[in-house]
């Protein structure tokens, strides 16, 4: 069974359990941790597993490999990937789910990795930009991004690619509106959207030809 804790509900819970918050502050000051009296529950009403505030050891399945990692409960998946695991291909631009730069796959679904805590991933599979290419070479979307110049500074590119590649997994023959819908949450300040759409459509055509 997996405890479903969103970042929002986690913060909400912390605000209610003031004792826990106090203990964090006390720990910060280097004093002994105070006793905890609050008993947070999940959105489903189940009693939550208490973790932290100190770092806990978890295992994440990333790009097909089990990666043991030590994270604090407040650590987002994006932070765990970048800071603890050195997978810096995933980018953080707004850190609150507004720009989609940090998009990775969770069991194949594109999500904002800044909006999910590392400790709630559990057994689900994480795929990052580092895992998009295979031994056979670049993913067709990656190749098409290069050929169509669907990137300029490249900072939004990893997230954009993860959404476009996910689209092709669920929809082998998208049209331009489908691509626009798939990347509608992504911000690109360099203005690469027209080339991103063209590249993704071509990648879809290439994939269909191959299969």
């Amino acid at each position: 069974m997996r405890a479903r804790i969103s970042r929002r509900s986690f913060l909400h819970g912390s605000a209610l359990t003031t004792a826990a918050a106090t203990s964090a502050a006390a720990a910060i000051a280097g004093a002994a941790a105070a006793a905890v009296s609050g008993r947070p529950v999940t959105e489903q009403g189940r009693e939550a597993v208490r973790l932290g505030p100190e770092a806990v050891r978890i295992s994440l399945t990333i790009n097909g490999s089990a990666r043991p990692v030590s994270v604090e409960p407040r650590t987002t998946l994006a932070e765990a990937l970048r800071d603890a695991l050195g997978l810096t291909g995933t980018k953080i631009a707004c850190d609150r789910g507004a720009c989609s730069a940090c998009t990775v796959w969770l069991d194949g679904q594109p999500i904002c990795s800044c909006m999910v805590l590392a400790i709630e991933i559990g057994a689900r599979h994480v795929t990052t930009i580092e895992g998009l290419a295979s031994a056979a070479g670049l993913h067709p979307v990656q190749t098409a991004f290069i050929e169509h110049d669907a990137l300029q500074c490249g900072f939004c590119t990893p997230g954009m690619l993860m959404s476009c590649a996910a689209l092709l997994e669920r929809m082998p023959a998208p049209d331009a509106q489908d691509v626009e819908r798939a990347i509608s949450g992504h911000l690109c300040r360099c203005g690469c959207y027209p080339h991103v759409v063209a590249a993704t459509l071509e990648a879809a055509a290439v994939r269909r030809k191959r299969s």
Binding site: A29, D83, K91, L187, H195
Partner: protein
């Protein structure tokens, strides 16, 4: 003055387009390569070559500054002012200093010191610390206690102009005439919060207005736009016994090196600045910045590397912005359209900083004998503005290009015909012709003529931008014994693809494929390159790259000539071989020629010479070419007159940048310019609460940017404009492509609804208000 170097005479292709080019004869330095033929005769230059670092970018392998990590790296955070205007009475850092993770702490505001202890905007740095983790830094920051003595403040342009407004600056704190990344005239008078004017007078405007048949007046307003680079401003500073190494997301490695050397009393030789991946700057990463300076101070104190990366809120409130402006234009014209006088008065605000002018569009875009302009800076208690893509001329064109359309209507002239009469530029004339044909301008209807709720309109506007060049720009090319080739410069690739065009230029000279050239840039260990601002990078660095490659080739040809028993000038480089002209079967592989080298490497360093025929103006390291950059954009819009929503359906951007080196990368940049202009026109606005002085939308969801669903069909038409001005004859595109978009959209909106909206952004509320559809007080 240095002695003039030996010159020789050469004949260059000259003119617009690929066909029917004329010729121009120029004196050029004797050690520079012969004229480059038009693109149609070249192998690599002018072709849509894929980015040299494309693979690194699509695999996530490219290293941005936020990805740089060093052993023992500390994390810096800045404590920022919670008050828009206050004197800091005390700062208690005792708790923070005792935090177990904290390794260095520095005060920016020093209580008791009037200058540093006064904060003038929400977000102004107060203190900074470095700790062993980002979380520890954040925790420790919250333990700092600051006591403020609040002062009256003003955060709005019009209110700040009033004589009774709270004063933002005093005579000591007022900036002296430099704005981040953008020049501001020095030593202008200050009255209250109003500084200036910076003036320009030509002819006699009073007489000009007296000669006019028609005098048009209009007031135009632009809002504050923020840069919103996806990669935050970030630095990793590493102060060591051997010197200072800094990794920084910057538009100017070489400039930051100079700033650091000066600020920290180090010789240039002990300062190294590095950037690989660079996630957008748009003007805001032109200089070291307060965060950069603080990271170095903290690193020196901690004797450990320190990273500071701004979060999104810091980005929005203290990393620069495009100033808000208000301008009044007065234009006198004769009935035939010829302009007799232009008067401009503008007030702009770059917050606590300078540089809020409206550029030179009003005085330089059109022929007019009598001009009188006065531009004022107004201080408010908000974060400092700085250069942003087309600074000055973006708000300048917003006013002037609407005013010209309004004048055309008063004169009952087609806006294109009026411009044909008053615009001296042959380049823009051709651009207007091409664009008009593309959008079928003749079918453009009268303003507001569409029946129905959704009304369509067509409009256009023009761009003006100086063709900037950095003289202090150098590049090295090396051919190694195994046949590999490197191009090296400290120039940085901020996303425009300058590394790719460097590889193209070198490959063209050496007869190689661009993929064969190893591009090593973004590091001050290499020859000093130009900044990536002012649309000057390509113009500044590709000519010395070609010259250096050509000089390397001459060395190789001398070696090959001995082996082939011909004269060196009988040889040429082509398709990976050194061959005898006219006898392609006689020759050797490029790498067989390099194998003849006496040493492992033959190298040449070249720097940017003056434009052939000279510059129009030279200011220190920077210069302006004889011919400006143009650009004409056409916009088709649909306005829903019930919801007020403006939808841009199509933009045709006809642009020029001298010789285009990589049309695909240029197209990408023009897409970016158009979208940033569209986003500015319809969505973006920094909103500051008058009661608290705080920005209420310091994020990326309430500060709205255009996304893919707001993206119109964008068609880019690129002119080839050969003038024989340098070894590549290439100039910039970034800023010209951003200047015309907003006024083109505004002119199209007017054509759609028949009511002119002179203030930005064109929100649904603004449109409904203009249509008289908002209830009073709503």
């Amino acid at each position: 003055m240095t002695t003039p170097s030996p010159q020789r005479t050469e004949t260059f292709p000259c003119g617009l387009g690929a066909d029917g080019l004329g010729e121009v004869t120029r004196q050029i330095p004797a050690d520079e390569p012969p004229p480059l033929p038009p693109n149609s005769q070249l192998e690599v230059i002018g072709k849509p070559i894929a980015r040299h670092n494309g693979r690194a970018k699509v695999t996530g392998a490219i290293r941005f500054t936020v990805d740089v990590t060093l052993p023992g790296l500390l994390h810096g955070r800045i404590l920022r002012s919670a008050m828009p205007h206050a004197i800091i009475r005390s700062i208690d850092t005792s708790l923070a200093a005792r935090h177990p993770g904290v390794r260095a702490l520095v005060l920016v505001a020093r209580p008791g010191d009037a200058l540093s202890a006064t904060v003038r905007y929400v977000g102004a740095p107060v203190a900074a610390l470095a700790a062993e983790s980002a979380a520890a830094a954040e925790e420790a920051l919250r333990l700092i206690r600051v006591q403020y003595d609040p002062l009256p403040f003003v955060v709005e342009l019009d209110r700040a102009r009033a004589p009774s407004a709270p004063l933002v600056h005093d005579s000591v704190s007022v900036p002296r005439g430099h704005a981040s990344g953008f020049p501001a005239p020095p030593d202008l008078p200050l009255h209250g919060n109003v500084r200036g004017p910076a003036t320009l007078q030509r002819g006699d405007s009073a007489q000009g207005f007296a000669q006019a048949d028609v005098v048009l007046e209009g007031e135009y307003r632009t809002q504050v736009q923020t840069h919103c680079c996806l990669e935050p401003h970030a630095i990793v500073a590493d102060w060591g016994s051997e010197g200072l190494t800094v990794y920084i997301s910057t538009q100017f490695t070489s400039g930051v090196r100079h700033e650091l050397a000066e600020a920290f009393g180090l010789p240039l030789s002990r300062v190294r600045v590095v950037v690989d991946g660079m996630g957008g700057g748009f003007g805001s990463k032109s200089m070291l910045g307060n965060y950069g300076r603080l990271a170095v101070v903290l690193s020196r104190q901690a004797q450990a590397p320190v990273r500071i990366a701004l979060d999104r809120q810091e980005e929005q409130i203290d990393s620069g912005n495009r100033p808000a402006t208000w301008q009044r234009l007065r234009i006198g014209a004769r009935n035939d359209g010829s302009l007799t006088a232009i008067a401009l008065r503008s007030y702009g605000t770059a917050g606590v900083a300078l540089g809020a002018g409206v550029g030179n569009v009003a005085d330089a875009l059109y022929r007019c004998p009598n001009v009188d302009t006065a531009q004022y800076d107004v201080f408010i208690n908000a974060g400092p503005g700085c250069a942003m893509r087309g600074p000055g001329n973006v708000p300048g064109a917003w006013g002037m290009e609407q005013a010209i359309d309004e004048l055309a209507e008063r004169l009952v002239l087609d806006p294109l015909l009026l411009r044909d009469r008053i615009d001296a530029s042959p380049v823009r004339r051709e651009e207007r012709r091409i664009g008009a044909e593309r959008v079928d301008w003749r079918r453009r209807h009268a303003p507001g003529a569409d029946a129905g709720v959704v009304k369509r309109g067509l409009g256009m506007a023009q761009s003006l931008w100086g063709a900037n060049v950095q003289i202090n720009a150098a590049c090295e090319v090396r051919a190694l014994r195994d046949g590999s080739v490197e191009v090296l410069s400290s120039v940085q690739d901020i996303g425009t693809g300058v590394g790719t065009v460097l590889a193209q230029v070198v490959a063209e000279v050496l007869g190689l494929r661009p993929e064969a050239i190893t591009v090593r840039i973004g590091d001050t260990e290499f020859p000093a390159g130009p900044p990536s601002y002012g649309s000057r990078t390509t113009a500044s660095i590709t000519p010395p790259a070609r010259t250096a490659a050509w000089q390397v080739l001459q060395s190789l040809l001398r070696e090959a000539a001995l082996a082939l028993e011909v004269a060196p000038d009988a040889l040429m480089a082509r398709e990976g071989r050194i061959i005898v002209r006219g006898e392609p079967s006689r020759g050797m592989a490029f790498r067989d020629a390099t194998a003849l080298l006496r040493t492992d490497c033959v190298s040449a360093v070249a720097s940017r010479s003056d434009d052939y025929g000279g510059f129009r103006r030279r200011m220190g390291d920077a210069a302006i070419a004889q011919q400006d950059l143009g650009g004409v954009q056409f916009a088709a819009v649909a306005v829903d007159t019930e919801t007020g929503i403006v939808r841009v359906e199509r933009v045709v951007a006809v642009q020029d940048c001298g010789r285009p080196l990589n049309p695909r990368q240029i197209e990408s940049q023009v897409h970016g310019g158009v979208l940033m202009g569209l986003s500015f026109a319809l969505f973006e606005e920094r909103i500051i609460d008058q009661q608290t002085g705080r920005m209420v939308n310091p994020n990326l969801e309430q500060y709205r940017l255009a996304g893919c669903r707001e993206t119109p069909q964008i068609e880019v038409v690129l002119l080839e404009n050969y003038q024989g001005r340098s070894a590549t004859d290439a100039y910039g595109i970034a800023e010209p492509s951003n200047i015309a978009t907003a006024p083109a959209i505004a002119n199209a909106v007017y054509n759609a609804i028949g009511v002119r909206v002179r203030s930005l952004p064109l929100t649904p509320g603004a449109i409904l208000g203009a249509l008289g559809k908002l209830r009073a007080g709503a």
